[in-house]
């Protein structure tokens, strides 16, 4: 996978993950162009399209578009389910995720994505494994928080 974008129906970019190097300016241009193409498509159209030299696989969930750019030989249907599994992970973590969760907890969304995909390849497809990793991190975070509370009390 070359990159994944999450954007809203209004064309606001909510999350971007790039798996190949590109200049910031080119990235912005690609995002703009691609959002335009995808947003112009009608609901019953197919989820795949050819764009530049890439295959785009996208799916809309409520107000958010999840959009992946994959290589010519990559499997479209399996990419569609990569998106779905990511949505499931977000959903499980945030508890019925909505766009606002991703806006206000963007860093968590990135952490979840990182646990799931690495360098554009699937790291683990098991929902349990991925969430376990995230929860472990959260646990560490809470421990750290308690420590800092204790510290500030001590002062």
């Amino acid at each position: 996978m070359r990159f994944m974008l999450l954007f809203s129906r209004q064309g606001k970019l909510r999350l971007q993950k790039w798996y190949t190097a590109a200049a910031e300016r080119d990235r912005k241009k690609m995002v703009r162009e691609l959002m335009q193409v995808v947003l112009a498509r009608k609901p019953k159209m197919c989820s795949f399209l050819e764009w530049r030299d890439l295959k785009i696989v996208y799916k809309r969930y409520a107000s958010l578009y999840f959009c992946c750019a994959v290589e010519e030989q990559d499997n479209e249907l399996v990419t569609l389910e990569v998106i779905h599994r990511f949505v499931e992970l977000l959903d499980k973590y945030f508890g019925s995720v909505c766009e606002l969760d991703i806006i206000f907890n963007f860093e968590k969304a990135y952490f979840i994505l990182d646990e799931f995909l690495m360098g554009g390849e699937i790291q683990d497809t098991s929902k349990k494994s991925v969430l376990k990793a995230i929860e472990q991190a959260d646990l560490l975070q809470e421990v750290a928080m308690i420590q800092s509370v204790v510290l500030s009390l001590g002062q």
Partner: protein, 964 residues
């Protein structure tokens, strides 16, 4: 912020909000945010969202940036939490699309925090915003090194993620040695192994030279057997990539992959627990296994192959079973595996039964209610259409595909349907397909019209049984989609009409009729002007299309046309004056009027002035010579095809072309010349054919050594030769009379030759051009001399094993001719392109005539020597039909290229040619005389060679008989 809240998802039950995370709820209402998160961050995000305008947002951001800057610069040391919060705010600002030029150092500081969340935010910032500042990279690498050594799996994973996210060369240099060790160490946690595998993959993709698998190879391959499915899933991505680049080293993965696949395919839908996705066992892993197998030819081991075929059959069978769930995720996962299996079946292209089953399955999908499946079925069938086993099966779906072209609502699906029609087209259905494509063009989307036009033009040309159909089709094309008909298309129709006299009358008549339309496209005027200017006389007998009627018709369009078209029409007019003297006065009148002769456009003015003058001063004879019918165009690759290739990239059209060549040989509209470039594409060994060739390769080396007369010494790597049947000698004969040019060309590689000879020595420069954008690896080229070839060849040391995309590699051969020879040395080239081994054997165009020294002599001398060489074995003679132009100048040029002296005024018959020369070998000098007697009436030649050595006469005679 609630105005931006999304509508509830239709049809999706909202699960109960888990109670264990009360703090998440508060994040959604940032005003009362507290607890785990960074309150300041939530407030800031909320502020940004409340900004009513872009200006307000920028103002708020600038305020925040100033605040953060002052905090970072302040005297008071920031605690980790504040640092984390500010770095996170910077990240947010960056992700909004604003530039960030500070904060990197603070982020790097966070990396060495022992608090997980601080470290995590630090790594996130670095991953998103890394900066090539080398000082910083050193610090980052240092932090990563510490985390990798920490033995804390969470920290190790964070560090690995960072490396994978940044993937820079500096990081590869620092960690490419360490990561394989982590990956295969016995005590590494599974989660770390997964990260290490993918991290290594990323480094391999960016800096393959730094990732040396060597000793780790076998242990990495064995990760396919790992107990933990997650580890296998991650590792297989790495293994696939490595296999593509080094298939031989990783080939043991084939049997492991087959057995893993077999276990998954035969497992019940619940066996794999968490790795079962909507009742489909391990869909991602299955797809990846099937993809890995596509890096290799079918397994050679019968048992492995049997097991794999079983798997593929099971997958095809499962497609027929009723679904276990109505959810689209279930069918997507199941079909993802199915499509990947079909890709593998197509890749093998060796199991007719599976290919036909795959085709039938796709046929069902063509009418599926899911648009996605219809799209994929059309796409996949396109590749099936190019397999000889399934081409016929694909063709049975023609009506469905035509229907899709007409009725699909999504243009990308219609595009796929058009592609498939193009791919399944052959002589049997060309008329139907071209007709359907033409009628679709009338309403086709603008975005795909140009490509459709090219495809129609190509199919029409390729499968034209009669030229009138071809002309009709192209004129229709111009009529329907004139704006999208590129120059190449209308040039082509003119070339073909000019080269085929049986279609000229029809073309003139048709174009005349087409021009009757009140509004016709300018391209039609161009074709009309050109064709009537050349062949208007063929329809001039009919009073309805008398010369003057033709002229008036053309001229009625004149004023609406652009300058280039008007220029073309002026040329047509002057041709009319030659064809039809009765139109002279009218046309001169037109040329003479101010709008022509004083036209502000220089080109038009010049043509008008010159044509007017030409028509008034030149005699009929001169006019007839100057304005003679155009000579035939040289046959070459269809420029339209070249254009479509350029448009779609090499793979896009060649699949069907290649296949066409296989299916029905010859009979193309443009005859042999046209097939030239294509047939060389056809003869390109496909990767699988290569591997087969390798297996059956006879040990030529040893056989050659057995031949006692071999004086060959090849100082380059001696590799086994491909079987002689695989030798490509297309280019060979073209070099008998010339020394420089392109010896071979396919989609990947071009081989050019430059050579020079003096006496019995020669030097040949070979240029290997990589036409792709991908590097060739393990590139070797070796020269070998089979049989009793007695020329001594020294090669320069092996060529560089890497040929970068677009680059050219040079090899020099120093050649010494020891004694005369007949067979040519062979040039064997091998390399890997992508995963596939390319193996190519060419006849090196080294022929005995290259060592000719020309000898000048007079008539008396010549015939004296001719008589001296009168023993029957000294003479070789052939009588043969002319295959090429018999033009005197052409023949002269060829004979000069041969290397002998062309003797003028020697033969009493001035039509004949005689030559003399001496072949210089180290062992001896062989004097040769040649006589070539053309018979223009019969289109025949008689060629006689006499030399002091029978083998030389014979060989030269054989070589030359192919040249004229």
């Amino acid at each position: 912020p609630s105005n931006a809240a999304p509508p509830p998802r239709p049809g999706r039950r909202r699960p109960q909000r888990p109670q264990r995370r009360p703090s998440r709820r508060s994040i959604k209402m940032p005003a009362v945010s507290k607890g785990d998160g960074m309150r300041g961050l939530a407030v800031f995000i909320s502020d940004i969202r409340n900004c009513k305008s872009k200006e307000a947002e920028i103002k708020r951001i600038n305020k925040e940036l100033a605040n953060i800057r002052s905090k970072f610069k302040g005297d008071k040391a920031l605690d980790g939490y504040s640092k984390k919060k500010y770095v996170c705010k910077l990240l947010f600002i960056f992700l909004l699309g604003h530039d960030i030029d500070f904060g990197h150092m603070e982020a790097v500081n966070l990396l060495s925090s022992n608090k997980y969340t601080e470290k995590q935010i630090g790594y996130l910032f670095i991953s998103v915003l890394v900066n090539s500042n080398s000082e910083l990279i050193r610090l980052i690498n240092n932090a990563i090194k510490n985390d990798l050594a920490s033995r804390n799996p969470t920290f190790m994973c964070l560090a690995l993620h960072c490396i994978a996210n940044v993937g820079s060369r500096e990081m590869a240099e620092a960690f490419a040695g360490e990561i394989p060790r982590i990956l295969v160490a016995g005590d590494t946690m599974d989660s770390v192994k997964q990260s290490a595998a993918l991290c290594l993959l990323r480094l391999y993709k960016t800096s393959p030279d730094l990732v040396l698998m060597g000793e780790w190879t076998s242990r990495v391959v064995h990760l396919l057997n790992d107990q933990h499915m997650g580890v296998v899933t991650a590792a297989i991505s790495l293994i696939t990539c490595l296999s593509q680049k080094n298939p031989d080293e990783f080939k043991t993965c084939v049997s492991l992959a087959v057995s893993r696949l077999s276990r998954i395919v035969s497992s019940a839908s619940t066996d794999l627990q968490d790795y079962t996705y909507y009742f489909v066992p391990a869909p991602w892993l299955s797809c990846k296994l099937l993809r890995l197998l596509q890096c290799y030819p079918p397994p050679e081991d019968g048992a492995v192959k049997g097991r794999l075929v079983e798997c593929l059959e099971t997958i095809l069978n499962k497609a027929q079973e009723p679904p276990k769930s109505k959810k689209v995720q279930h069918s997507n996962a199941k079909n993802a595996i199915l499509f990947e299996a079909i890709s593998l079946i197509i890749h093998y292209d060796s199991e007719p039964n599976l290919l036909v089953r795959a085709c039938n399955q796709l046929g069902q999908f063509l009418q599926h209610r899911e648009t996605n499946l219809r799209y994929l079925a059309l796409e996949s069938m396109c590749t099936l259409a190019s397999s000889e086993f399934s081409h016929e099966a694909v063709k049975t779906h023609i009506e469905t595909v035509i229907n899709a072209l007409k009725t699909e609502r999504d243009v990308s699906v219609r595009q796929r349907a058009a592609d498939l029609l193009y791919a399944m087209c052959d002589r049997s259905n060309a008329k139907q397909i071209v007709a359907e494509m033409l009628s679709y063009l009338e309403t086709a989307d603008y975005s795909i019209r140009e490509e459709m036009v090219l495809k129609v033009a190509i199919l029409a040309e390729k499968y034209a049984v009669d030229y009138s159909w071809y002309v009709d089709t192209i004129l229709n094309l111009i009529r329907i989609a004139g704006d999208y008909v590129s120059e190449e298309v209308w040039y082509r129709v003119i070339q073909i009409v000019i080269n085929r006299d049986d279609v000229q009358g029809y073309a003139a008549k048709t174009v005349f009729e087409a021009l009757q339309a009140p509004a016709c496209h300018e391209n039609m005027v161009k074709v009309g002007g050109y064709i009537l200017g050349e062949f208007g006389n063929l329809i001039a007998g009919d009073p309805r299309s008398s010369p003057l009627v033709q002229f008036n018709l053309l001229h009625s369009k004149f004023h609406l046309c652009s300058v280039p078209t008007r220029a073309l029409l002026l040329s047509a007019y002057i041709k009319f004056i030659n064809l039809f003297p009765e139109t002279k006065a009218t046309i001169q009148e037109v040329l003479r009027c101010d709008s022509q002769i004083r036209n502000s456009d220089v080109e038009l003015q010049q043509r008008a002035v010159e044509y007017l003058k030409l028509s008034s001063i030149a005699s009929t004879d001169v006019l007839a010579t100057v304005l003679e019918e155009m000579p035939p165009f040289p046959e070459r690759e269809s420029s339209i095809l070249a254009k479509l290739k350029k448009k779609k990239g090499p793979g896009a059209v060649s699949v069907s072309d290649l296949d066409e060549g296989k299916r029905d040989g010859g009979g193309e509209l443009n005859g042999a010349g046209e097939r030239g470039p294509e047939s060389s594409v056809v003869s390109t060994p496909s990767p699988s054919a290569d591997l087969l060739g390798l297996r059956s390769a006879p040990p030529v080396g040893s056989a050659a050594q057995g031949a006692g007369s071999l004086l060959v010494d090849v100082f380059s790597e001696a590799g086994p030769l491909a079987p002689a049947s695989g030798v490509n000698d297309d280019g060979f004969l073209r070099f008998v009379c010339k020394n420089n040019g392109v010896l071979f060309e396919n989609q990947l590689l071009q081989i050019g030759i430059k050579s020079e000879y003096r006496q019995n020595l020669g030097r040949m420069y070979l240029f290997y051009g990589n036409k792709t954008s991908v590097q060739f690896v393990n590139f070797t080229s070796t020269v070998s001399c089979p049989g009793d070839l007695q020329s001594h060849i020294l090669c320069t040391p092996p060529v560089d094993p890497l040929v970068e995309g677009g680059a050219q590699l040079q090899q020099v051969l120093n050649i010494e001719c020891l004694s005369d020879f007949s067979d040519a040395p062979l040039l064997n080239i091998r390399f890997r392109y992508g995963g596939a081994l390319q193996n190519l054997t060419l006849k090196l165009p080294l022929t005995i005539n290259k060592f000719f020294q020309p000898t000048e002599m007079g008539s008396q001398d010549f015939f004296q020597r001719w008589k001296q060489l009168s023993l029957p074995q000294q003479e070789a003679q052939k009588i043969f039909k002319a295959n090429h132009s018999m033009d005197k100048e052409v023949l002269k040029a060829k004979l000069l290229g041969l290397g002998m002296a062309l003797l003028e005024n020697v033969d009493p018959n001035p039509e004949n040619f005689v030559c003399a020369g001496v072949v210089q070998t180290k062992a001896q000098q062989v004097g040769c005389l040649l006589r070539l007697e053309p018979n223009i009436q019969a289109q025949m030649y008689r060629l006689t060679l006499r030399s002091s050595k029978d083998t030389v006469s014979k060989r030269l005679c054989d070589l030359l008989a192919e040249q004229f």
